[in-house]
Amino acid sequence: MRHGNDGREGTGVNAVAQTGHRRLAVGRMAGDRRRVWPWQRTTLAALAVAACAAPFVLEPYRVFQLTMVLVYGIALLGLNLVVGHGGRVSLGHGAFLAIGAYIAAIMTGRLGVPYPLALPVAALVTFGLGLALGRPALRLSGPYLAVVTFVTAAVVPPVIKRFGTVTGGSMGLSVPVPSPPSWTGLAEDQWLYLLVLAVAAVAFAAARNLLESRAGRALTAVRENPAAAEILGVRPGSHRALAFGWSAMYAGVAGTLYAWVVGFVSPDSFTVTLSIVLLAAVVIGGPGSLAGPLLGGVFVTFVPAAAQRAGDAIPGIVSGLLIIVVVCFAPTGLAGLLRMAAGGVARRLGRG
């Protein structure tokens, strides 16, 4: 793994610091950078093109499903900040999804506010709630945090039912579906898909920037070794809380998009099972990677629905079993498996 150190040391004061193992640099080993998959950019570009073309070639129901994959992908992107990058477990992200969805439903459905305004409001509110909950909760160690977040997820649906005059109670609320501007000539499902795609693109870019920023590095450092991070001046608590705030915001935004796409919200859409399925999806998609949440979104969209046909408790059980399988056999999740497969193909092509 190591590169040779080919006589690049300084002189003078530094002469004393020549501590490397002298070894001749050969071939790739002489290089400075880790090898990158040569088609990474090409793949990304192809994916972007495919994503933009999809609503024009797929039938409306498939477009709807793909939209839901993106919606859940955004929520998982946020949850991944806590689980994959922060190394903490949250069983409560369904609650933030619910809050984002109800903000959209009440603002546009009851108050008649133009629908785009719901997005920043939901983002701000859930960010604030996430910070407020994250600060005390993240000081607790793993199992306690899981309990606190689980309780949050469990409490939200009853609270929604309790305040029926605003929320519509267990009957739920219907949400006016954003209609495409007439100049676009788009169908409703296509417009919704493109809207969600745009938000998802921004969300992914923001998450990427966040992770490569000073705060993102600090978060990873805290996950890897809290004490070592602390004696370099990183405050573990505040970085974890901030990550929790960000992740709640992603879930809130996803909730608003959910309300737009589904056109209806009810307490039963955001049960504890949803929170469990979301956590499973992060683990199965691949914690700590940026592709993981998208693959996880596929999981949330298709697997629970399929499992539900066998019975109400089945999605939770299936999620639990899949977590165990993935943790045992593929700890880097589906994203890790894909990366390994791509690496294998690249090596084979490189040789041949």
Binding site: A229, I231, L232, G233
Partner: protein, 259 residues
């Protein structure tokens, strides 16, 4: 090289070297430091003085409390008593504040962030530094440890033991410390690599006037590179004497032959 080079003056075992006593030059003054983990008391009143730029070894058997002392100094473990850095009390402050005041700690086992690259590890060392000065800090550290430059974009976990130790020290230097606490930096290194590391440490100490508290198992090696050595024994520090002073008769069990 160091403030009190060995052989400057003949002095008695119990006399503090010039510049470390009550003079204005003392950078660190520890008095009656007590610390522990919950009900378990580990340090029972540690006294210590260190001059700016001075390099002092801390020897002692396993479990004596050396690591605990460094943790107390950097705020990871709550301590009682008094720890003055240039007149500022450190006890009761958060680790982050203590780093800001100029104390860096290379922990036992290095504490690298293995999946992050060498460059990212160094950048986390600069977490509290003003953005404008980070590039200069990085350049400085890479000048001390040029080997790291070839590995900047490699995960820290893929480096050799010696390189990892250099990274751990380099990362601590990114905080621009006045006092560097080193917890067994030679652990797991070949003697040659250890010597090179200590050479760099000594050069950094004299060039940038960084004081160092070096916890070390290999007494002979430590005495070769430091101006004096202290011995930690069941939670108390006792004076070991100036480096190079033949100790064999005094505590034979402690001074294993060097490797």
């Amino acid at each position: 090289m160091t403030v009190n080079g060995p052989g400057d003056h003949p002095r008695s075992l119990f006399e503090a070297p010039p510049g470390t006593g009550n003079g204005p030059a003392a950078l660190l003054r520890v008095h009656g430091l007590r610390a522990g983990y919950g009900p378990a008391r580990v340090l029972h009143g540690v006294d210590l003085e260190l001059a700016a730029g001075e390099m002092v070894a801390v020897l002692g058997p396993n479990g004596a409390g050396k690591t605990t002392m460094l943790r107390a100094l950097s705020g990871l473990v709550r301590g009682r008593g008094s720890v003055l850095l240039d007149g500022t009390e450190l006890l009761g402050r958060a680790p982050e504040e203590i780093v800001r005041l100029g104390v860096a700690h290379v922990p036992e086992g290095r504490g690298l962030f293995a999946p992050l690259t060498v460059e990212e590890n160094l950048r986390i060392g600069a977490h509290l530094r003003p953005a404008a000065e980070r590039a200069e800090d990085m350049r400085r550290v890479l000048a001390w440890f040029p080997v790291l430059r070839a590995h900047l974009s490699q995960p820290a976990g893929s480096l050799s033991g010696g390189e990892q130790q250099m990274l751990a020290v380099g990362r601590a230097l990114m905080t621009r410390p006045r006092l560097l606490l080193l917890d067994e930096p030679s652990r797991g290194l070949a003697p040659v690599a250890t010597r090179r590391m200590f050479d760099v440490l000594r050069a950094v100490g004299s060039h940038d006037r960084v004081a160092m508290l070096l916890v070390e198992q290999d007494a002979r090696l430590a005495l070769e590179f430091t101006s004096r050595a202290l011995v930690m024994e069941s939670g108390r520090l006792t004076v070991g004497g100036p480096a190079g002073w033949p100790q064999a008769g005094r505590r034979p069990s402690l001074f294993r032959p060097g490797r």
